[in-house]
Symmetry: C2
Subunit: 346 residues, 2 copies
């Protein structure tokens, strides 16, 4: 594990705190994953969940993009459903589909039956993966967990959902039961993220994939309180908290107020517009992942536009969502170089 002093002028952590380091830091959501041939090679022998649950493999997968791309942060290779696994939920991740919950939560009894997550007992591999990763990585390590609303949607719908109708139904119809579910999930997520920081993660990302399907009113009423409990519950640890969801243009102010140090922004909201909504927080984002299939000059023009709108200070360059599986890793590497060279102090 690097000394803390090794991070003192770290570009990623400096940007998380709203500052300007020697260059604009860059990492990519899903930088560890299908776009890398070395990841695909490992996946031929191991399932996604096996990779998440085997510390040496999770750390190895997390390290792959550092070696190949030169990014400024490592993120723990994991999946948002790992917290649910720790709560004893039976599930699989089906290739091309996503998480499938074998017995979706449908009743008061189902929800009352959810246990309490004790990370060292239920998901010891998470902190162990972080420990190995922190030892091996030469850049800050970001811990990772899914946010309660998104976890609740998977639990209730049984898998990915287009309209989240059952989830919204529970939320509107049984607000007390909904609150109980969200509080249980928040407690589990907080425990996991605290254990990751205690294992050496220098920052965390709370990922609310589906938050953007909620109106601001519903988000504020039904999703924000649980995310806020998590982000506030991490405050004493001092690790910067990144808060991200997709399609969250109208929610950015609320997501910032929930207790984020950094607000992640998808590609739909120009960063200069986002800046005005997040009240002084740092920003992370936001190149459209689908733009990476364009010719290099077009990609770099788009990168430059993101950098310009990001304003150079308190900006972590990233995509607006995860790297798409067909992305050429060479394009990712060139983006890292480009961002660094464009923004390096002269």
């Amino acid at each position: 594990m690097p000394e803390m002093s090794a991070y003192a002028d770290d570009p990623f952590l400096t940007a998380c705190h709203g500052g300007k380091g020697r260059w604009t830091p860059v990492w990519f959501m899903r930088q560890a994953g299908r776009s890398l041939p070395e990841y695909r090679a490992l996946r031929e022998r191991h399932t996604m969940l096996d990779l998440c649950r085997t510390p040496e493999l999770a750390a190895e997968v997390s390290l792959q993009p550092l070696r190949r791309l030169g990014v400024d942060a490592a993120i723990l290779f994991s999946d948002i459903v790992v917290t649910l696994l720790g709560l004893g939920i039976s599930l699989d991740i089906e290739p091309g589909l996503g998480p499938v919950i074998h017995e979706p939560l449908r009743s008061k009894e189902d929800i009352a039956g959810l246990g309490t997550l004790v990370p060292e007992r239920d998901i010891p591999f998470v902190a162990e993966s972080v420990r190995i990763l922190v030892r091996e990585a030469h850049v800050p390590v970001i811990g990772f967990a899914g946010a309660p609303f998104t976890l609740a949607s998977y639990l209730i719908e049984g898998g990915p959902s287009r309209h989240h109708a059952r989830t919204k139904n529970l939320m509107h119809t049984e607000p007390e039961l909904w609150r109980e579910l969200m509080e249980r999930l928040a407690s589990a997520v907080l425990a996991s993220l605290r254990s990751q920081v205690e294992a050496g993660a220098a920052a965390v990302q709370l990922f609310d994939s589906w938050a953007g399907t909620l109106s601001p009113r519903d988000y504020e009423r039904y999703a924000l309180p649980a995310s806020q409990a998590i982000l506030e519950g991490l405050r004493d640890l001092g690790a910067p908290r990144i808060h991200f969801g997709v399609g969250t243009g109208e929610l950015l102010a609320l997501m910032a107020d929930a207790g984020a140090d950094v607000v992640g922004v998808d590609w739909r909201v120009p960063l200069d517009a986002a800046r005005a909504r997040v009240g002084g927080r740092a920003l992370q984002g936001n190149l459209d992942p689908a733009a990476l299939f364009a010719p290099a000059d077009v990609v770099m023009r788009e990168v430059d536009d993101v950098l310009k709108r990001g304003g150079g200070k308190g900006h972590i360059f990233n995509l607006g969502h995860g790297v798409l599986p067909d992305t050429d890793p060479e394009v990712l590497r060139r983006i890292v170089d480009h961002v660094h060279s464009r923004t390096e102090e002269t």
Copy 2:
């Protein structure tokens, strides 16, 4: 066909023009469709495309929600791919999946091979459906077509797509070819909408399902010009033009400027916030379709919130997206009554 004078104080048309009629008008996207048992009965004997292509059936399906729900406008029962059918594209609509294009457009030659749409020759059933509908309906009829960007995405991806990566790839990589495709599609859509208005449609809705997947820059550069050509090309006919897409919070100002009289808003943007973005245009929307599964008192509370934010003038009440198939039509009927009684002049 009703006399034009019959529309003089029509609540729907009054609201389209920014005014306040005897009540706030209400209709529902996909009001004709799976939520109605009488529609499901017809679908047992006819495919979706057969319904679209048989004027008596398309009109009958369009009339069903008028009888049951008491809405203030009828919309032609159709599908956005009907324009593509008219262009000679071989396709099916697969239940539960959506449109499937048998031979997706992938090359310059594919695009050059797209013909010109002559509505009376290629899709005569569309105008004929409108004519029957206008004769039978006691409320204004809305014509309907999909917008070029969304049509292009179906053509290129071959069906519904999550990331639209091939589409964005073409857009970024071959901007001239992209422009040619968009111009051809715009010309076909304009021809279809003009023929619908000439057949008696009192308004039109241009539906750009996927526009919200674009950043504002990409929307402005690659999608807006074609939609603008259509909306401006309809101006001389005088029928109000409704412009709608999903996830378009950051695009509302551009979609208004494209030449809309009414901007449709999904449930993510509160109407009072939307109002500030559309420069004096009327608004349509925007209750979350998934909120209709809540108990009646919760639904009506949400309806009241939409009405309040809509401001009563230049507001057409609608959902923020189409009626979900499992929706209880009785809830829709009660919403219509509620909106009317809440807003009726006293």
